[in-house]
Amino acid sequence: MSFLSRFYSSSLGRKFFVAGAGLSLCGFLVLHLSGNLLIFKGPGVFNHFAKTLDSNPFILPLELVLAGFFLLHIVIGLIVRYHNYQARPIGYAKYSVKGGRTWGSRTMTLTALIVLAFLIIHLKDFRFGDRSQGVYDLVVSCLKNPYYAIFYIIAMISLSLHLSHGFQSAFQTFGLNHPKYTPAVKKLGYLFAAVIGLGFASIPLWIMLGKIK
């Protein structure tokens, strides 16, 4: 364990943890989205899918592992952020350098906090909410509230921005940068961010438009 703690206590090691947990969470997002999109198949299919998931005895341990990844990503990410603030106690009167700075990279902490707030509300309402009437009704009744739906969409835009930098950034942190494939990794990152953002946001959008009742 001394090896792990030494690894963690280094700036590069901490970044490996954040990047590793982040990429793993990308995998989770794909799974989650594939389940969510079943809502377009109607209440029967969607509720059946949710019930099947709930009845799987392996779900709870997997959820705990997932929670672990979330905690690693969030807690170490915030620690890194804190160290970075400390590294420049007095800022510039004028700061102009751009380089590879994008809207995504510039807003990483802000988008992280929005997604975190969303995550907490989302868990409270859906994971631990009243699912006796079926998950379909729960989702539709929540997202019928336009404020809720707009918050949901804002959170998904934030997630998309976060991914647009985070996905490609993780590769660089793992030392994977080469003219052979880095341009493709960047494009894949933008595509992934767009698909995940649009995919999740499509549900509140469709409910707001009254296409899902």
Binding site: S10, S11, K15, V80, Y92, V97, G100, S105, Q172, G175
Partner: protein, 249 residues
């Protein structure tokens, strides 16, 4: 030409600093920003005021001594150049130019625009070298280095250790500097014996000095007067991971 310079003035490390506005006249377009500060200092001395302290040495872009953040850009807005190479023809007559010191906890201000960059020296002393027995020069070509590898190592070795990467980084990280030094030596056969210890020790010293974490925003690459590439940072990450996973250290 005439310019308005807003320059960071600070008596010493402990005192509070602030931007002070000066008017400087009689500047020719081929003068550098450092020479403009020289002219301003002469004007200040004539008035009996304290001249502005700033670092410079070779004034031909190879020593890495000049610093300055000019209008928000370390070494100014021109690509691949140092402050001493920044000519006044790149500015408009009558323009206001803001000049600040490099900002990082690891680079404390000594006075005005002078910062203490000895943190870099300590990082280098932690492993940025190869240990060799001195004596006769070895035979040429007895250690073979492929041309493309030598080129990559040379590109990394172009780093002059000025610290612009730290100044430009939103997190004041020193990753590009350390990556350049690690890459330069890790690519060469002469660097191989101390490869693992080097990356582990230089990384440890870098953290100890209080530099931030890399957020892969590549502001360093854009500011670097020697155009060191961020692919070197990926190599540093690989070297570190390799040393952690594969070495006995």
């Amino acid at each position: 030409m005439k310019f308005f310079l807003e320059v960071w003035r600070q008596k010493n490390a402990q005192s509070q600093g602030g931007l002070v506005r000066y008017e400087v006249v009689g500047i020719s377009p081929e003068m550098s920003i450092l020479e403009t500060l020289d002219v301003l200092n002469e004007q200040l001395l004539e008035k009996g005021e304290e001249p502005i302290a700033f670092d410079s040495d070779c004034r031909e872009g190879i020593c890495g001594m000049c610093s300055l953040v000019i209008n928000g850009y370390p070494h100014g807005p021109e690509k691949a150049s140092t402050s001493c190479e920044l000519r006044m023809r790149h500015f408009q007559d009558g323009q206001t130019i803001i000049i600040e010191p490099f900002r990082a906890k690891a680079f404390p201000i000594v006075r005005d625009l002078v910062v203490d960059r000895s943190a870099f020296d300590r990082v280098m002393a932690a492993g940025g070298f190869v240990s060799v027995n001195t004596g006769n020069a070895p035979d040429a070509n007895c250690v073979l280095v492929p041309k493309d590898v030598a080129d990559k190592a040379m590109d990394a070795a172009a780093c002059i250790g000025c610290g612009a990467c730290v100044a430009a980084c939103p997190n004041a990280a020193a990753m590009l500097f350390v990556a350049a030094k690690i890459s330069h030596l890790a690519l060469m056969p002469q660097g191989a014996p101390e490869r693992d210890a080097r990356v582990l020790n230089m990384r440890a010293q870098m953290d100890k000095e209080g530099f931030g974490h890399c957020a892969n925003e590549y502001a360093c690459e854009a500011a670097c007067p020697k155009e060191i590439k961020v692919s070197n940072i990926a190599r540093l990450n690989r070297e570190f991971l390799r040393a952690v996973v594969c070495s006995d250290k």
